[in-house]
Symmetry: C3
Subunit: 139 residues, 3 copies
Amino acid sequence: MTQHQQTLRISTTGKSLCKITSQVQAVVVQSGVRVGLCSLFLRHTSASLVIQENADPDVLKDLENFFAKLVPEWENYIHSTEGADDMPAHIRTVLTQTSEQIPVANGRLQLGVWQGIYLWEHRQRGSSRELVVHIMGES
Amino acid sequence: MTQHQQTLRISTTGKSLCKITSQVQAVVVQSGVRVGLCSLFLRHTSASLVIQENADPDVLKDLENFFAKLVPEWENYIHSTEGADDMPAHIRTVLTQTSEQIPVANGRLQLGVWQGIYLWEHRQRGSSRELVVHIMGES
Amino acid sequence: MTQHQQTLRISTTGKSLCKITSQVQAVVVQSGVRVGLCSLFLRHTSASLVIQENADPDVLKDLENFFAKLVPEWENYIHSTEGADDMPAHIRTVLTQTSEQIPVANGRLQLGVWQGIYLWEHRQRGSSRELVVHIMGES
């Protein structure tokens, strides 16, 4: 068993799902691991991870619309000094994922045919986000 | 340290929580791992994983009812070509889990007394779902 | 590669987020692992884990308020024998996390600057909760 840890920096645009499947797969290749587990950890509290449909971009729009309605910006939040979108961004993060684990076989992420990995930016403005990729397994 | 990776196929019925604790425990036994970590990954975007109460089946009905109300089928979704239940199924998946990790000790999943592992089918029709079980640890 | 598994008992007060970052970091130190992955698993179905902002306590109040509104206690739940707060506690657990994974480097959890680890008690009364910490990596 061996392990490989690497941090990716990902630039996001505001309130949108950014597909990162290929960047993560590239780290799996660099790790040399053929069979194992790839663990993802996002070092932020106002952006999150989801694994979702990679085909129809309308799914991403519906996700964005659903969460905008579920966690409205203009609620009466106590924590409001960092902007109207900040507390909703924290709640949206809590409702989705900060870490994900994906098995690896034959040197490839064992995602289903329709699965893509997404970094979901929940703030109105984009920024640079840090994702730690940790891979354990056998080469 | 050793590892064991195996894919289970699980037949679901529509919109229901299917208990899979014993199937996962059986893979732990086959792996020979006594102390370690069992990682589960569901290869789908319209079904998900939850760890929940294994005693009163009414809890599962209430979960189903709550999610049916939280993510209504007849909203005005853009992604609608695959049926009225498809986009809600994606949203319900995002709100729950695609991967779970459970520690193993003495060759057994270290679930709490009341915890069961469930595969949650979010589509109206059941289907065959693939769950990757990846176990790392010492035998 | 080595591993270390340890169970922490954490006393909670009712319906609140309890910061556990330092207890988890202490287990990482005890494990002797310098680079690896720290996996957390909560052995309960009415309390959960979240990784959230560690600075402004108002964020925690807003999270509590949001979930109180999203999952009301006085809905008509079928499962009601264990109190009005029990079924909402199960739903709140499903909407958040039972397991989390955090990478370790230089013997420290690789949390972002603003990230803290929280155990979220969803019942009205506090209790003693069991958290399994499983660390894999190299010393």
